[in-house]
């Protein structure tokens, strides 16, 4: 929020004593606050500088399709002489895995989140809300490793038993093994993890819609469901978009749960495989980083992993700013959707 100017305050400003001490406090607080900027700049500079050789050697081919896991192996084993470093790398399988898991999770999540938010704001009896609202907060507080543990010990065996049939296994056996750990299960768990963010942003926005608007519609004889969809949800659209964007930033950065559940193979599932497509394993960008933690000090390998981190850093920064702007656009209606930071 900008400095609030007020006639009384500015009139008093001259009369106040100890203005020099005041100025020092302002400078000190401002300096501490500015370290946040230094940190952000440092983060981008450090990570991109470290990652640069990998981008430089591959060019746009970095984002292309390749046999990623073999390439990572080659990079890891590359000779210790800096002139002979192997950098050849194409990350499409990892990027595709990230897009699939986050995309499906956000799609499932947004449907659930909008219905649940409408329910909380409009239809739920207060007794139900007294349980539901803390429950949503609880879902946000469960650590990702706990979700991962339940995924790998309950849902993955379940998927292996129910969904993965022998024919399906054989149909792709030449390329990839179906173990039950797949991107469908990962996306479902991920959607549970990101739904609370979307619900809380949407609920805040729906609550911020002026009462007079909905009352006006109700006075015209519109029923409650139509009122909330045509007036409130419509007015809250920017916030729903913001929720989706911020949730996909969260989904993009989820590493631990996905590395436990998604199957950990740099494989790009092929939509032409029919339903088997959903049962194929992936390894998103963030999980690749966490699983490569051991090799970070091996030079060209470390640089490649930092290149993955740089892609994550840049895309998540863009997503969080986009979400921030989307939320701000509700101010057009004079609505202030609360909750600056999720």
């Amino acid at each position: 929020m900008a400095a609030l100017t007020h006639p009384i305050r500015s009139a008093l400003r001259g009369a106040r004593q100890g203005a020099a001490g005041d100025r020092r406090v302002e400078l000190a607080l401002g300096a501490v606050a500015s370290t946040v900027l230094l940190l952000c700049a440092g983060m981008v500079v450090f990570v991109v500088l470290k990652a640069w050789p990998s981008f430089e050697a591959n060019g746009l081919g970095w984002f292309a399709s390749a046999s990623t896991d073999e390439q990572l192996g080659e990079i890891f084993k590359s000779p210790s002489n800096p002139d002979q470093y192997v950098y050849e790398f194409g990350a499409w399988a990892l990027i595709w895995g990230t897009l699939l898991t986050s995309g499906l999770a956000v799609v499932i999540g947004v449907v659930f989140a909008v219905f649940t938010a409408v329910f909380i704001v409009e239809f739920a009896p207060s007794k139900v809300n007294r349980v539901l609202v803390p429950t949503v907060r609880l879902l946000a507080a469960v650590p990702s490793v706990v979700y991962g543990l339940i995924g790998i010990l309950v849902l993955v065996p379940l998927a292996a038993e129910v969904l993965v049939t022998t024919e399906r296994k054989e149909s792709v056996a030449y390329f990839v093994q179906l173990t039950g750990a797949c991107w469908l299960v990962a996306a479902v768990i991920l959607s549970i993890m990101i739904v609370p963010i979307m619900i809380s942003i949407t609920v805040d926005a729906l609550r911020a819609v002026p009462r007079s608007w909905t009352e006006g519609a109700a006075a015209l004889g519109v029923n409650r469901w139509r009122v909330i969809t045509t007036i409130s949800v419509r007015a809250a659209r920017p916030a729903i978009i913001a929720g989706m964007i911020l949730a996909s930033a969260r989904a993009l950065g989820e590493a631990i749960m996905l590395s436990m559940v998604a199957g950990s193979a740099a494989w790009a599932p092929n939509p032409l495989d029919g339903f088997t497509f959903f049962l194929e394993p992936v390894r998103p960008l963030a999980s690749t980083v966490v699983e490569s933690a051991e090799g970070l000090s091996v030079e060209p390998f470390g640089q490649t992993i930092y290149a993955i981190a740089a892609v994550l850093l840049v895309s998540s920064a863009f997503l969080s700013w986009a979400g921030w702007f989307a939320k701000r656009s509700m101010r057009r209606y004079g609505i202030e959707p609360g909750g600056a930071t999720q």
């Binding site: 007020h6 305050r9 100890g18 900027l37 429950t135 790998i152 469901w225 009122v227 930033a249």
Partner: protein, 319 residues
Amino acid sequence: MSAVPTTVKPTDPRGSSREWPLRDRVALACCWIAGLSTCAVAFLIVGYLAFKGVQYLDPSLLTSRPSAETDQSRSGGFLDPIIGTVLLTVLGTLIAVPLALATALWLTEYGRPFWLARAVESGIEMIAGTPSIVLAIFGLLVFQQTVFGFLSFEAEGGSVFGRSFFTAAAMMSLIALPLLVGSIREGLQAVPRHVREASYALGKTKAATIRRVLMPAIRPSIGSGTVLGMGRIAGDTAIVVILLGGTLQLQGFGDVPLLSTLRGNGSTLTSYVYVNSPAGEGSAPEKAYAAAFVLLLICIGLNLLVTRLARQTSPASAR
């Protein structure tokens, strides 16, 4: 058709949905299903973990130290991870709170020049959105510089290990920072302007107003922000896996008792669960369940604390 008096809530809960068109009734049913299934999922998760946790949680697990044995009867419990979680959470919050307090106070009370304030705001937004795994390997890059050798273990030949409680806590504080800043700013904005003006009218400077008037008023929001941040720190795994060195036991470097532990490596409950899950090396699901249950209890406890603190805040802001 009767006119709706303006005093009646137009969305009266008793209003019958039976006369609605079918489409609207189906949509209403979807709302109920979504709301109730959210509850059901949460209860299933907590209930299942509680069931498994009670089944496998042995009091001796809480008090014995872990060791890397393949024989599960001898691999010990998770005393060290619990200590690690507590240490890391406390240390991370200790770093985050002053930083967040200064940032929030400056943004709300001063915020000049305007462009700098906006830049800081979006910087915090950026940190909030940065995946913790990226923060972790950024931290590794920074703390492996020779300057920071005193924070972790320095090998012969000057290469710095960069993994310790100090470095992990420094990065953890960044996870908690945006939550804390958001919560403190909300608290500050809830203090009515006339309270500040009354203080100025008494001849207090802005700095004195902050210390004597605003700080006491925002104490509950600092509290709830801190607890929120603690929950986030206790639940994070990626930073622990990368920046805490991956040893199950606490391993100090140096001679000074506490300092050596903080400079050393260890594990937390999250990394213990990760290592003992089928995805990790340990693969002891029973112990992973037990540790996950303890972890979940900690997180639920912190969550309840936030709710209580938030309830304390609301009457204060209505003043």
